[in-house]
Amino acid sequence: MNNHSNIIRLEDISYTYPGANTPVLHHLNLEINKGDRIGMMAPNGSGKTTLLHTIMGLCRPDSGTITVFGNALREEQDFVAIRSRIGLLFQDSDDQLFCPTVLDDVAFGPLNLGFSRSEALDIAQTTLDRLEIRKFEDQVTHRMSGGQKRLVALAAVLAMEPEVLLLDEPTAGLDKAVKEKLVHILNHLDISYFVISHEFDFVSAVTEKIYSMEDGRILVDDEIHIHHHEHVHRHGNHPHVHK
């Protein structure tokens, strides 16, 4: 049952928010394998963010098993061990950048992982170089633009050298230039990732398959893929509102 290329495997996960009537995750199954580049498009409130938080152990499911890198995760301690190997990019960069300066923030993860000051500094600067944002290193994070903040948050996640990335609407609120930069960065990463987004163009540019979510379950049907595709092309040249 345990495939070696399995990085993340969710089986029969159910979760209901305290006080809610319907479960947000309902007997959900998901597998992310090595080399996978998966996109996820689903309506607001369908449980996408909850799904990512479940993988990271930020929200504990009512039932089901979470297996990451072959280990079943149950207690907080189990999750602590894998959090450094999975990078989660939050929806709001302001949540993720809590240190005074850019360099402090990118080095925060490596320092927690036990690297020395000079090693952490080195990792942080190399990561910033990789994303071509080294010039921001001494800037105060809360004075940066939304696009700059998103790239710094991504650098902060990548500095932990994760083996898989989970991205929660990475393009929300960004302009075209930053989006293109993100596409470029993601396409040149050699790790697996799972991207949640509402933008078909972006998702199709950086992933190989697109999933959706409905009634707390993941739909991996190929038809969904085609449906989204047709929809976008039919209205592509005219301004219109999705959902």
């Binding site: 938080h53 990271m56 930020l58 602590v80 959090r83 450094s84 999975i86 990078g87 989660l88 939050f90 709001d92 302001d94 949540d95 993720q96 950048l97 809590f98 240190c99 005074p100 300066t101 360099l103 402090d104 080095a107 925060f108 993860g109 320092l111 927690n112 992982l113 000051r117 952490a120 500094l121 942080a124 994070t141 809360h142 004075r143 902060a156 996640v157 932990m160």
Partner: protein, 251 residues
């Protein structure tokens, strides 16, 4: 918003280790606060003016910083001399100005200006990040250091959220006035702000957990002990001891 106007200079004080500066500021301000003679407070004031001069701060900016304090002091000058018991030095009809009242006012004025100048010269000359670092190294609990750094980081975010809420209210025709509706609206805004800040706090904590946060304060800054630090610290200690001994034995 917090502007760190004095934080980035090139004076000798700017080059000092933050922890040394924090310790010096604490020592000097405590002995100033406990000093009991107006003439001696003048000496303290001299020390703090010297420090401001060494830090090479713009005098106009420094005076601007004193403004809110001066407003507060003005209030004391209006009230205290008239209400304090003791020897009367002036009399305008039924109003009597007492000598102890004036002396007390002078002391409060000099001491508060002196302490504010001390902090401007020693503490305001470092960034909040360095301040956090310095506090950590003089063994202030990590929780308090995080509290300071997080407040600094998120105060602007919360302010932006407040402005967004207020703008949304104004776009829907809200005009603040002295009436129950306005008070209620502001109460809603405040409540909403608390809810959002608390949710934000949860998300930030989650983000910290995701990056291996272990409740310890790590920092990139590295300060090597230099002669400058030791000399400055020693100088401040000698000056402080001299001022204290002078007060105890000669006055």
């Amino acid at each position: 918003m917090i502007e760190e106007k004095f934080a980035f200079g090139h004076s000798m004080i700017h080059r000092l280790d933050p922890s040394v500066r924090i310790l010096c500021a604490i020592i000097l301000s405590v002995i100033t606060a406990l000093c009991d003679h107006v003439s001696l407070v003048l000496l303290h004031l001299l020390v703090s003016i010297m420090l401001v001069a060494i830090a090479r701060l713009d005098i106009k900016d420094v005076l601007n910083r004193l403004k809110p304090l001066l407003g507060f002091l003005l209030m004391i000058w209006i009230i205290l001399p008239l209400t304090f018991d003791g020897e009367v030095i002036f009399r305008f009809g039924i109003l009597e100005i007492s000598r102890p009242g004036v002396v007390l006012c002078a002391k409060i004025t000099l001491k508060s200006i002196c302490i504010l100048l001390l902090f401007t010269a020693l503490i305001a000359t470092m960034s909040i990040a360095s301040l956090g670092n310095g506090l950590h190294r003089i063994h202030v609990p990590d929780k308090l250091v995080f509290l300071l750094l997080m407040s600094y980081r998120y105060i602007a975010v919360i302010q932006k959220e407040y402005q967004r809420l207020l703008r949304a209210a104004k776009f829907r025709g809200f005009k603040p006035g002295t009436n129950l509706h306005s008070y209620k609206t502001y109460a809603y805004l405040a409540g909403m702000l608390f809810v959002r800040a608390s949710l934000r706090g949860q998300r930030v904590h989650q983000a910290m957990l995701c990056r291996g946060f272990d409740k310890k304060f790590h920092t990139l800054d590295l300060y090597h002990p230099t002669i400058l630090n030791s000399v400055f610290f020693f100088g401040v200690l000698v000056a402080a001891a001299a001022l204290v001994l002078f007060e105890i034995f000669w006055i």
